[in-house]
Amino acid sequence: MKYTFSKSRSYRCFTTLLLAAALVFDFACWKRDTKVPLAGIGSMRTVTDDAGRQVTVPVHIDRIVSLAPNLTEIVYAIGAGAQLVGNTEYCDYPPEAKHVAKIGDTMHPSIERIIALKPQIVMVSTASQLEAFTKQLAEQKISVYVTDPHSLEEVFHSITTLGDLLCQHDRAAAVVADLRRRADLVEAAIKRVKPVSVFYQVSGEPLYTIGRDAYLTDLVRRAGGVSVTADVPGAFFLYSDEAALAARPEAIILPTGGSMGSANATVAASLRNSPAALNNRVHKINDDHLSRPGPRLVDGLEELARALHPEAFK
C-alpha cells in the first residue's frame, strides 16, 4: 500500500490544526515580544506532543533540558540555544552544545541533575524514554515533551513545533524552508533515476536494520533508493541474515564514523556475497547525519542520494 502523507486526510486535518496552533502560539509569543507581563494560569498553555500527550508548558520557556542529540541540534538551529541549560553526553553538535551541563546519557539520565537544573521543559526523542521519570518530573512541575518522527516531513514538523514552543516561529520556519529547498533539489536531481534496492545496516553482528516505521526508510526512498526491509513492521530490529542476503540488495548503507567512531565500518559477514558487496556498492555515511533526526538529516539525505546516484549529481 502506497501511503502518501501529504495527500492523506490526516495531513489536511493536521495542517488545519497546525495553523490554529500557530495562531495561538503566535499570539502567546507576540505577548512576550511586547513585554506584557503575564501571571498565573494565563502564562501556561497546553500543547500536544508526538506521543499524543497533552503537555502544559509555560508561555515563555527559558530553561530547556534536551535528552537527545537531535533535539539539541534543533534547539540550536532555531536560535534557542541560549535557553538550553542541560543536555546529554552525546550532544556534541554544534560545538557550543558540549559546554552545556551534562545530565548523563540518553538512556541513563540523572533525574537529580535534571531537577537541579530547574528546567521548565524536558525534551525526549522517543516515548520509550518516558516511563522512567515522567512521574518524578511531573511532581516537580517539569513538563516532558516527546518528539517521535517517522519521516523527513515529520522531522520538519518537529522543528516547526519546537519553534512554536520556544517562541522562535520565524526562525524555525526559515530553517525548515531552507531544508525543504535542499530536499527538493535532491528530489529534482533523482527524478529520472531508477530506484536502487538498499540494505541499511544499523549494526552487523548481530544484524540490525530499519523497518516500515523508521524515518530512515523514508529518507532512503527520498534519496532514490528503496529499502529491502521497507515493509517489515517496526522501526529498528534484529533481522534474519538469510533474508537480508536473499533480498539481493544492490547497495548497502553503513552508517558509521562521526561520534560512532569505527563501529559498524564493515559489512556483516552474511552480506559479503550480496550483489552490493560484490559490486563495491557499500556506502559509508556519517552516522551523525543519519541517526539524528534533526536539521543535519538533510545532509544525510544529500550524502545518501549522491552515494546511490553519483551520475545524477554531475
Binding site: Y90, D105, T106, M107, H108, S203, G204, E205, P206, L207, Y208, T229, V232, G234, F237, L238, Y239, S240, D241, E242, A243, L245, A246, R248, M260, G261, A263, N264, A268, A269, S270, N273, D287
Partner: protein
C-alpha cells in the same frame, strides 16, 4: 529438593544399552539437523537443498540459495549444535561432580563469569577476536572455583550452600556486567543486550571452530571421567577408597566444563537452561549412569538448541528473536514440571 537423591543414583547401564541410547539420539540429532537446514526465513526448494546437503553439485540451487544454505544457515546450525552440546554436557558434569541436580552453568554463575571475561576482552582487546574465548574460559574457570570454595563449608558441600554460592556469584557478576556495559559506547549496548540473552546470528567461522573444538575436547574429557564420576556419586571419600583420584577428577571436570561454557558464551552469549533441562530429561529417560548421561546429554543438548534456534529465526521471520529467550521459554516451564513430578 527430594527428587535429587532419587534421580541421581548409580543405576549402571550395559554397553549395549548405552550404544542403543546414543544411536537413537544420534538419529534424532541428524533428523533435527536436516529439518533445521531446510527451514528458515527464506524458503529453499526442499529436494534441491537435500541434494546439495548430500554433497552433490548441480542440484538446481542458485548461487544465492547456495550461499544462504552453506554460508549462513549451516554454520549457525552447527554453532547451535556445538553450544547445546557444550552447555548440556557441562551441566551434566557439574551435576555429577557436585552431586547436585540444580547445578547448571547459568545458575552457578559460570556463564556470567564467562560473559564478564568476554566483555572484558571486548572492551580492552577488542581487535583480537581470539582474546574472547580465552578470557571467557578464564572467567568461567574463576567463577567455578569461587563458587566451589564458597560452597565448601566445614561439613562439606551441601546442595543449598552451593546454590546460594551460585546466586551470590551470579548477582555479583551481573553487577560487573552492568558496570562494563556503562564503559561501552551506546551504539554497542543494544547488541549486547541481545548477546547476553544468547544470540547465534552473525556467526564467524573462527568462533564456530572454537566452539566445535572446545565441544569435542570438553565432552571427550568428561566422558573419559564418567566412570570416576559414577563412583564419586557415592561420596568423595568412598570414591577415594575405591581408587578414584578424586582431586584430579574434580580438577579435570571443572576445567573441561569451564572450557565448554567459556567457548559457548564467547561465541553466542548466555543461553540459559540448557544445562539444566537436558541432563534432567536424559536421566528421566535413560537412567543416571554418567557414561550414558554425559554422552546422551551431548547429543540431546545439540538437538535441543538447534530446535530452539530454528524457532528463534522462524517464528517472527524475517525478524528474529535471541535463542536464549526461546530456551528459557521452553526450559523454565519444563523445569517446573520436572520439579513437581520429581
Amino acid at each position: 529438593m527430594s527428587g535429587g537423591s532419587q534421580s541421581i543414583h548409580t543405576g549402571r547401564a550395559t554397553f549395549g544399552r548405552t550404544l542403543f541410547v546414543c544411536g537413537f539420539l544420534l538419529l534424532l540429532l541428524v533428523l533435527v539437523l536436516l529439518i533445521a537446514s531446510v527451514v528458515g526465513s527464506q524458503r529453499l526448494p526442499l529436494a534441491s537443498s537435500l541434494c546439495a546437503l548430500a554433497g552433490k553439485t548441480n542440484c538446481g540451487l542458485s548461487s544465492e540459495q547456495q550461499a544462504i544454505l552453506f554460508d549462513i544457515r549451516l554454520p549457525r546450525i552447527l554453532l547451535a549444535g556445538a553450544v547445546g552440546m557444550s552447555l548440556a554436557t557441562a551441566g551434566a558434569g557439574y551435576q555429577a561432580l557436585l552431586r547436585n541436580p540444580l547445578a547448571e552453568p547459568y545458575l552457578l554463575g559460570v556463564s556470567n563469569g564467562a560473559a564478564v571475561g568476554t566483555m572484558t576482552a571486548l572492551v580492552f582487546f577488542g581487535a583480537h577476536e581470539w582474546s574472547r574465548p580465552v578470557m571467557a574460559f578464564a572467567g568461567a574457570l574463576l567463577a567455578t572455583f569461587v563458587v566451589y570454595r564458597l560452597a565448601r563449608g566445614r561439613t562439606g558441600t551441601t546442595p543449598e550452600r552451593l546454590i546460594l554460592a551460585g546466586v551470590i556469584v551470579t548477582t555479583f557478576l551481573s553487577s560487573a556486567i552492568v558496570f562494563i556495559t556503562t564503559l561501552m559506547d551506546a551504539t554497542r549496548i543494544r547488541s549486547f543486550t541481545f548477546w547476553l540473552l544468547g544470540d547465534l546470528s552473525g556467526t564467524t567461522t573462527s568462533m564456530l571452530i572454537v566452539a566445535m573444538v572446545a565441544a569435542g575436547v570438553g565432552v571427550g574429557f568428561l566422558i573419559a571421567n564418567a566412570r570416576s564420576l559414577n563412583l564419586m556419586m557415592l561420596g568423595e571419600r568412598d570414591a577415594f577408597d575405591l581408587g578414584v583420584e578424586v582431586r584430579r577428577v574434580r580438577l579435570t571436570v571443572f576445567v573441561a566444563a569451564s572450557l565448554l561454557v567459556g567457548a559457548s558464551v564467547a561465541s553466542s552469549g548466555s543461553v540459559g537452561y540448557v544445562g539444566l533441562v537436558v541432563p534432567h530429561l536424559v536421566r528421566l529417560s535413560f537412567g543416571s549412569d554418567n557414561r550414558v548421561v554425559i554422552a546422551a546429554s551431548a547429543l540431546a543438548g545439540a538437538a535441543f538448541v538447534i530446535v530452539a534456534d530454528t524457532l528463534a529465526r522462524t517464528i517472527i521471520a524475517p525478524r528474529e528473536l535471541p535463542v536464549g529467550a526461546i530456551t528459557a521459554l521452553i526450559g523454565a516451564p519444563l523445569f517446573i514440571f520436572l520439579l513437581k513430578r520429581g
